[in-house]
């Protein structure tokens, strides 16, 4: 590649830091320009590696991610450019490393706020090594139809509108990165477009200066005219004046120095850019514009007529036959609109795949059934209220929330011997992680273990609503050969009642508006205990029937809705949730005690293995 060119349509780069949006914009530009290879060869994400998936037109490509610059360049011998998105703290080291690598020719430094001393060193180092820095504190540069640095040129629409996908005859250099797009726009409106455009950034010590780029444009036979946008402060523009006087810049140069307003400002005002402060009279925009005009640059009276001067200069060149007409591409490849962008603009729609009525995490704060968590906590909400909101989508009255909590506390554990805890213990001793131990315990819950809450609720409710007398209900169940769930205890009896049951019944009598199903179940208990005194309504049964009483009387569920709640397994959920507390306890207990792998003793197994022929 000719030394006066910054980029060609073969230029390949690495991007320092995971700026995936900028990468996508670069790739879209490439595709629009009809580049054969993507301009991004790799990403450097310090310390990690892998691949990044990106769009390439309508398809997708994988871009490798490297842990450091050296690896990235080792893997891509055709890369000669780095776009450095490192922060102001780390830009110095990464830029220096890239400059010192033999393959790198151009480094664009995006960060704003690199200390002056470091920026100055980088600038001198680049000159010494014969390399080019664009920036710091810039959006970058564009070689029309060739290569785009990061976010330069803005959106795809903009690139199309300003014809940045093909080369024109104008070389542009500006101090302001923010006005790079605007200058592309002005040039596109008034000429055949940009060949190359660079924003050197507004720092005091830019890596490359206005004159560096103008001298390159002077060498480039395809560039017929130059446009530059300078700024008050510093002496860069005088280096341009000096070069013009020496005859080093012969092509028409339209120049405007920003900051002519400084004369109405208080003395020594600092504008947005670090370098934009006029210390002495020669550093003012007025003085610079005057000197440039005197040296032969075309300087408008104000920015307002910059476009007119550019147009006039271009037309003159064209009339002199110096402009080669641009070959416009017959058609441009179509790049699909980004899905997220299209949604935002409201130009496409698609049926959603999921619905959720539970929680919403899109706002400032997650809300449970419409109530922000902080509001729930501030209003004294407890676990029972959260279950009300997340499971039932309702704000339960206090008596109901408290009952849910009571139920959870009561079912939380039943010792190490029951199947759930036993499984959790065995899994824990096998060295499994907590989640596996918990899952192992939970998987035992079903019709035989822990299922009685659901079953009892269902049957008692049905019996009650069918109007079956308790005695008839018991008879009916027996006829169907169904053991009534929730009835019966191993040791407890009417005479020796289960304290937990007494407690719940007492709570319900004091707080529930009505306890119809409980009363019905106690009627059934009267019948069953006549047969055997331990056939009492047990803990699971009590929770089951009281949950039905609670839901029926809470004020917002119809009988049909309560039926559906029971059918869907909500009540089983209370057992699963509560018992998880105990299962976690058992699993952790075994780990804490450092218990070894369990192996069941042979003598406890009746081996009856026979070889059958």
């Amino acid at each position: 590649m000719e030394p006066y060119l910054l980029f060609s349509n073969k230029t390949r780069s690495i991007i320092f830091n995971m700026q995936v949006k900028a990468v996508q914009r670069m790739l879209d530009f490439d595709y629009l320009c009809g580049r054969e290879t993507p301009s991004v060869a790799g990403l450097v994400n310090p310390g990690s590696s892998g691949t990044h998936k990106a769009h390439w037109g309508t398809g997708e490509i994988l871009i490798p991610i490297y842990p450091n610059i050296e690896e990235a360049l080792k893997g891509n011998s055709d890369v000669d450019t780095m776009v450095n998105f490192a922060s102001f703290r780390s830009s110095y080291a990464s830029t220096k490393e890239a400059l010192e690598h033999k393959n790198i020719r151009v480094v664009a430094v995006i960060a704003e706020g690199i200390p002056e001393r470091k920026a100055r060193e980088l600038s001198h180092l680049a000159k010494k090594l014969g390399k080019i820095i664009i920036g710091p504190a810039t959006v970058g540069a564009i070689g029309a139809g060739a290569f785009k640095v990061g976010n330069s040129g803005g959106t795809l629409d903009n690139i199309q509108n300003q014809k940045l996908y093909r080369r024109g005859s104008i070389g542009l250099v500006t101090k302001s990165g923010g006005l790079l797009n605007e200058m592309f726009n002005i040039i596109c409106h008034n000429t055949d477009g940009i060949f190359e455009g660079v924003a050197i950034g507004g720092d005091k010590y830019p890596g490359s200066s206005l004159i560096d780029h103008l001298l390159r444009y002077e060498q480039n036979p395809k560039i017929k005219m130059m446009v530059a946008l300078g700024e008050l402060g510093g002496d860069e523009e005088y280096r341009v004046v000096a070069a013009m006087k020496k005859g080093l810049l012969t092509k028409p140069l339209v120049f405007w120095v920003m900051g002519t307003c400084s004369k109405v400002f208080p003395e020594g005002a600092q504008f947005g850019h670090a370098g934009a402060k006029a210390g002495v009279a020669t550093e003012t925009a007025d003085a610079k514009n005057k000197a440039l005009k005197k040296a032969g640059a075309i300087v408008p009276d104000s920015f307002d007529t910059l476009g007119d001067e550019i147009a006039r200069t271009f037309i003159k060149l064209r009339d002199e036959g110096k402009i080669v007409p641009v070959q416009e591409p017959e058609s441009l490849p179509v790049i699909p609109m980004d899905y997220a962008d299209a949604i935002k603009r409201g130009v496409i729609r698609k049926p959603t795949s999921f619905i959720s009525q539970v929680a919403d995490d899109r706002g400032d704060e997650v809300s449970y059934a419409g109530y922000p968590i902080s509001e729930i906590v501030h209003s004294g909400g407890k676990l029972g209220d959260v279950i009300g909101l997340l499971w039932f989508g309702r704000k339960f009255p206090k008596w109901a929330s408290e009952f849910i909590e009571l139920a959870i506390m009561i079912v939380a554990d039943h010792g190490p011997a029951v199947s759930g805890a036993h499984n959790a213990i065995i899994a824990s001793r096998a060295g499994k992680d907590l989640v596996s131990c918990l899952a192992s315990g939970l998987l035992t819950i079903g019709p035989r273990f822990g299922g009685a809450i659901d079953g009892c609720a269902k049957h008692m409710k049905n019996g009650y609503y069918k109007g079956l007398e308790p005695r008839a209900f018991v008879k009916d169940m027996k006829a169907q050969n169904i053991k009534i769930p929730g009835i019966g205890h191993r040791v407890k009896s009417l005479e020796n009642p289960d304290g937990r049951v007494t407690l719940m019944i007492e709570y319900a009598r004091n707080n529930f508006p009505k306890t119809d199903i409980l009363d019905y179940a106690l009627g059934v208990q009267d019948v069953t205990t006549q047969k055997k005194s331990n056939l009492i309504l047990n803990v699971d049964g009590t929770i089951g029937v009281l949950m039905v009483d609670m839901l029926t009387n809470v004020g917002f569920f119809s009988k049909e809705e309560v039926d559906r709640i029971v059918e869907l397994g909500y009540l089983n959920g209370i057992f699963v949730l509560g018992r998880s507390i105990g299962l976690i306890g058992h699993a952790l207990d075994q780990k804490r005690l450092n218990q070894r792998l369990y192996r069941h003793p042979w003598e406890d197994i009746l081996y009856m293995v026979e070889r059958k022929e």
């Binding site: 100055r120 600038s123 001198h124 010494k128 923010g178 920015f303």
Partner: protein, 427 residues
Amino acid sequence: MARRGIREYDAKRVFYKMMPRYTGEKVTFDIMPLLVDPDTDMDKLSEDNPWLDNMRLVVKPDQLFGKRGKSGLVLLNCSFDEARNFIKQKMGKSAKLGKVRGKLEYFLIEPFIPHDLEYYIAMKMDADGDHVYFSTQGGVDIESVWDTVKEVVIGPLEEPELDTKSLLGDVPALERKLIEPFLKGMYKFFANHDIVYLEINPFTIVDKKIKILDMVAKVDDTGMWQNVGVWDFDEFPSPFGKEPTREEAYIKSLDEKTGASLKLTILNPEGRIWTMVAGGGASVVYADTIVDLGHGGELSNYGEYSGNPSTEETYLYAKTVLALMTEKKHKSGKGKILLIGGGIANFTDVAKTFTGIIQALRDHSDKLQKVGCRIYVRRGGPNYKAGLEKMRKIGEEIGVPIQVYGPEMHMTSIIPMALGENDKGVK
């Protein structure tokens, strides 16, 4: 982000603290200077610093301006009581220095040093390297004896070591032995702590010890993160006479809290033309064009919002500008002009940033009508069409004439249009 002057008090204090380290303890300082501000308890000051009562003192204002002696603002060779009286007389009083008028609020107190030798030393960071200037003829006006000043340049890629040979050729051996390690150490201090300008004029030698009389320092504020525990002041002082207005201070405080950039300078609160421009470059260009078209006297403010500020931030920014603008009618009776301008953004969502401005316009609709406001908008970039449409609608809604343009029009064309210069219209 730029070069900032710091107080002589901070410069000396940090210099005194760091120099022993940079000179292998060859140069040390015993007494730290003191700073008096409007809240200083003078009794407590003397209690904490017994030397104040035992020594002759110097008092001078410490507010980033020079030529204090010529302005009669330095009290030399005084007792603590005299210093106290001097400060009491001047504190809070306004003073004029050159063209600038400001309030005196900060004073430096340090020991008075009788001396005869006066050396000049200055170090300056420049594009081609660090320039070090030295003269044995230091004193008030170094410019008048500039031919005695010797200069050394240390290139940006050289080791940060000062070779004093050519600087100290005229200095007798006895003094040179003291000055050489001082200059070498001072250069290390200069090069290691993001200082861009450091001048001592003069320093002297008393009883074989270096004594500093006047010191001026400027630092690069982008380098401050590398100097935690060195440059330990809380904030940079405003240049003398440039204390921000209430609104400027408010926008500055917003700016400090965000990653975006929000700037506001009030030029003429009585002016007719108000601007709200996105982007640092564009904001300069808009102000330039107003001035270049001959309306600089009516330009009320300079400012910018950029770097993708949030809706809330743009709202607060716009609210501040609109409140100032609608305070009263223009004295000519003509309506006021609001320019909501900007270039073509690279990646800022235009519709989003406009949302905050629109909210502020809605809040001020009555007041905007009262001052006869006309609004001109020009902007491009991501989602600009939606943004411009919103602007058109708010104009109708609040009954304020509004003209809205996109990138099809030259960036500054709304200025001549608004000022009735000519109506170039759409190109």
